[in-house]
């Protein structure tokens, strides 16, 4: 849902996105999601529900997994943001992205960017997650296509590759 913004004037907000410093002129209450998509053209971050339930708009903010539809851009001031576009900046896919392709973790693809960021965040905290930890770690990201089984397999596959097993 688009919030009503008539009460606040636009102002400059500075933050880092995918390693680059950005300045945007925005209402302080503008959703980070809209700023990323509309001002910075980073359309890989998707809107699914606009109320923090589905996780399609997940990004990493100072290493935390957040729903960018719930973050007013003023709150992101000075933060370090990573979006799906920051995951494969060097043309080569991450092993995790490769695993999503191989295992069938992406069907319609609309939850995939958020799901991949949630998985990156999980693997950073727990390099060798159990199935229960994968289930728990991805529970904030809804997928309507896969029934999640293929996503679990992709995350487990990527984890095994990372630790060299």
């Amino acid at each position: 849902m688009v919030p009503s913004l008539e009460t606040s004037a636009k102002r400059d907000v500075f933050f880092t996105v995918n390693g680059e410093t950005k300045k945007v002129l925005a209402h302080p209450m503008e959703r980070l999601l809209d700023v990323l998509r509309n001002e910075l053209g980073l359309t890989g971050t998707k809107e699914g529900c606009g109320e923090g339930e589905c996780g399609s708009c997940s990004v990493l903010m100072d290493g935390m997994l957040v729903n960018s539809c719930l973050i007013p851009v003023a709150q992101a001031s000075g933060a370090n943001i990573v979006t799906i576009e920051g995951m494969s900046a060097h043309a080569l896919l991450l092993p995790l992205q490769e695993a999503f392709l191989e295992c069938g973790g992406a069907q319609c693809g609309i939850c995939t960017p958020g799901m991949i960021l949630a998985a990156v965040h999980l693997l950073d905290k727990k390099p060798e997650p159990t199935l229960a930890e994968i289930r728990e770690g991805l529970a904030g990201n809804l997928c309507r296509c896969t029934g999640y089984m293929e996503i679990f397999e992709a995350v487990a596959t990527a984890a095994r590759q990372r630790v060299g097993k």
């Binding site: 688009v2 913004l5 069938g104 319609c108 609309i110 089984m149």
Partner: protein, 756 residues
């Protein structure tokens, strides 16, 4: 034989990479909301706040610079004010009366989305309310007529044998009533389109949709434009499940009217609340069974009454009813049966296509009822199914002779084996005597017909193209859309195999009505089987064309193919082949009597659910799920398994989580916060097994698969809940409050009878 030689490639059946997969994992894939056109406006819809009434007055409130806004009402429609589909009874914009909450009345566009939202809120509409109908029972009473002469959109009657003669032969007469609720498709990408208009070129629409030519047809009627002046392009589509079958015609119509009036491109993308409240859902249903059963548990005959709630306009209800009616008898042999199907009107937004299309509703009833028959007769749920399974040579309820090989017994045996059914059932029966966590096992056996029903494929008359370029790249030209299920990949596999080329050398065109022929809608589990076969045939034609002009021999390398294509194109122009659907000669269907070959092929399945019912929280957890099926040849192992796991997950939601709460015809829990779909933490391991048997009608023996997994889980789960608790639940969704109510009543009953 040329075909035999092609088999050596085996691209079909291999887990090749998803064609559009890279774009999806990098965020580069372009969905409609990712697209911006120069000068683009945003569009919004002003909707009815009441269920039924006459529009008296529209007031544009103060404080809004209305001259900045583009406003469209029914008066601005250049052609016919309807969404052309089957009966054309649904207006694009309500003009004088509204027939359901959220019915579109007025459209606004502005460059600033924030101003647009305030403007929508500033419009108030006065109505003269009319009596409304909110349940199937009220609709059937006909004391208030809201549609046609009798509130009935459609009826079907399927009759086989002499049902009236079976009752006196019956050892048992088993009756039951079963019901299912509305279900939201809940694709994660909401409905959305962009429309632009150019007086010379006409209308172009880009959207999230399943059926480009449905939208094409609807816009031609709405705008009074010839076919070449309407162009529809499918963008990457973030889930659909039927929810983007007919509805996109509506949202595309709205964006188009705003684009025509403003002369600028207009984007209309719903937010989640609007999408859930205003768009289609699965039809609620009620099924009544009355079955004559022999002493041995054999079904002698019976009557089935299947009714669905279509909402306020007919839209696709007649077709949903058709599939539900035909599937109502399940995978069983009925010597006699009478099935009455009925779709009725209520004042809610029209219900529409959703994976399974009526079959999950009527099969839920059948598979709960067959367990009831087993109890009455005193045999096991396994045995009752075994004794009644359809066998080759027997006929279905529509008197279609089963000519294909079916092995329901084998599927059942395998499902029991891999689920460890017997051992677990025995153990749970012992352990359930103690504690508050009761465990149970349930099964469901079912079938799903692939492709359009009866003469449907004949009417569709699908056309498919394959084109080879001068660089040797082959392009598949179809209107069949990819929305996650794997259309792009599977059709490219089939073409590559037919041409003996690497998979990488074959691409698929973006569905764009200016480029691709009408290969029919992407629905009804028809794409891999029906469209796939046409793609195979068109690809073989390309080969034959090159062979006839002596440019290519029987054996060739991709390089030789490339050279041959280039030489052909230099000499003769574009190298394209088209194939049109031809109905198999042995498919006969009588639309009047609803009799004959309903489907060219059926997929068959036996599913097993293991559940725990917690008597302290009244929650049901599915602990293990086995999905055993026969879908012909599996064309792509990863994509096929993905269809099953996803369908089972959605059906677990249908059974245990997803409840649409209605108030005066409006969905009131239209948010993901309070309409609950399964998360990664809620689902059991979903174990998928395929038993492959080739089928003559599809490419490489493939049958339809997409809808099948929606049919079986709900009855399997409720059968397991009854096994665990001994309480019969015949209505879904089954929520903890329903369990609480039923189990509390039961314990009161048992205390009462104990004290007596």
């Amino acid at each position: 034989m040329a075909l035999a030689k092609l088999q050596k490639h085996h691209i079909v059946g291999a887990p090749v990479p998803r064609k559009e997969g890279r774009g999806k994992v990098t965020g580069a894939a372009r969905y409609v909301d990712d697209m911006v056109l120069p000068g683009m406006l945003y569009g919004a819809t002003v909707r009815s706040t009441i269920a039924r009434g006459k529009i008296r007055k529209i007031t544009y409130g103060p404080g809004i610079p209305w001259e900045e806004f583009v406003t469209v009402t029914a008066k601005d429609i250049p052609g016919k004010n309807c969404i052309a589909l089957i009966l054309d009874d649904q207006p694009c914009l309500a003009a004088e009366t509204v027939n359901h909450p959220e019915e579109p009345i007025l459209l606004l566009a502005h460059a600033d989305r924030h101003k647009l939202r305030k403007a929508v809120e500033a419009i108030s509409i006065e109505y003269e309310p009319l009596p409304a109908v909110h349940t199937m029972a009220e609709s059937e009473q006909q004391s208030t007529i809201i549609w046609g002469a009798d509130n009935i959109f459609k009826t079907f009657l399927v009759e086989k044998g002499d049902v009236d003669a079976v009752w006196k032969k019956a050892a048992y007469i088993v009756e039951g009533e079963y019901s299912t609720g509305a279900q939201e498709q809940l694709y994660i990408e909401n409905n959305g389109v962009i429309a632009s208009f150019d007086p010379g070129k006409g209308v172009t629409v880009w959207g999230s949709l399943q059926c480009p030519y449905y939208v094409h047809k609807a816009l031609m009627a709405l705008c009074g434009l010839p076919e070449e002046k309407v162009r529809v392009v499918q963008m990457e589509t973030g889930g659909a499940f039927g929810g983007k079958e007919e509805f996109p015609s509506m949202i595309a119509a709205h964006a188009t009217l705003l684009a025509i009036k403003s002369g600028r491109p207009v984007k209309v993308v719903y937010d989640r609340m609007e999408d859930m409240a205003a768009t289609t859902k699965r039809h609620p249903s009620r099924t009544r069974h009355r079955t004559a059963v022999g002493k041995d548990g054999k079904i002698l005959g019976g009557e089935i009454e299947f009714a669905i709630d279509g909402g306020a306009y007919s839209t696709l209800s007649s077709v949903v009813l058709s599939r539900g009616t035909i599937h109502a008898g399940g995978p069983y042999y009925w010597t006699s049966v009478r099935i009455r199907g009925k779709a009725v009107a209520t004042n809610s937004p029209p219900h529409g296509a959703f994976r399974g299309f009526g079959a999950p509703q009527s099969l839920f009833a059948m598979e709960r009822h067959i367990d009831r028959i087993a109890q009455v007769v005193g045999i096991s749920p396994i045995e009752v199914r075994r004794r009644n399974f359809l066998k080759p040579g027997q006929t279905t309820t529509t008197q279609q002779t089963i000519r294909e090989e079916i092995r329901l017994d084998h599927l059942l045996n395998r499902a029991l084996e891999v689920s460890d059914y017997h051992a677990k059932k025995a153990r749970f029966a012992r352990e359930n005597k103690y504690g508050v966590r009761k465990k149970g096992m349930g099964i469901a056996a079912f079938l799903h017909g692939a492709g359009f029903t009866g003469s449907g494929e004949r009417y569709l008359n699908s056309l498919v193209g394959v084109e080879a370029g001068a660089d040797g790249t082959v392009r598949v030209l179809v209107s069949s859309a990819e929305f996650g299920q794997g259309t792009n990949t599977v059709l490219c596999q089939i073409a590559a195999e037919a041409l003996g080329l690497p998979y990488e050398n074959v691409v698929i065109a973006q569905p764009d009505t200016a480029v691709v022929p009408n290969s029919g809608p992407t629905v009804a589990s028809r794409t891999a089987m029906i469209v796939g076969k046409l793609v195979q045939s068109a690809a073989i034609s390309i080969r034959q064309t090159l062979a006839k002009t002596s440019l290519l021999g029987d054996e060739y390398t991709p390089e030789q193919f490339r050279v041959a294509c280039r030489e052909y194109i230099v000499a003769h122009g574009p190298l394209k082949a088209y194939t049109r659907y031809e109905a198999p000669a042995d498919i006969y269907w009588d639309d009047e009597h609803y009799r004959g070959e309903a489907y060219a092929a059926f997929a068959w399945a036996v599913y097993v659910a293991e559940v725990t019912v917690d008597l302290t929280t009244y929650s049901v957890t599915v602990d293990d799920f086995v999905a055993m099926q026969e879908v012909g040849k599996v064309l792509h192992p990863v994509l096929a398994a993905g269809q099953i796991t996803g369908g089972v997950a959605q059906a677990i939601g249908f059974a245990l989580y997803e409840k649409v709460v209605w108030q005066n015809g409006r969905m009131v829990n239209n948010q993901m916060t309070n309409y609950i779909m399964p998360t990664s933490a809620d689902l059991p391991p979903i174990r998928v097994f395929f038993e492959e048997i080739g089928n003559v009608h599809g490419a490489h023996g493939g049958k339809g698969i997409g809808e099948l997994p929606m049919d079986g889980p709900a009855p399997a789960i409720l059968n397991a809940v009854e096994d665990a608790t001994g309480v019969r639940f015949n209505s879904i969704p089954l929520l903890p409050e329903d369990l609480f109510e039923a189990l509390s009543a039961q314990s009161l009953d048992s205390k009462a009878s104990f004290s007596m």
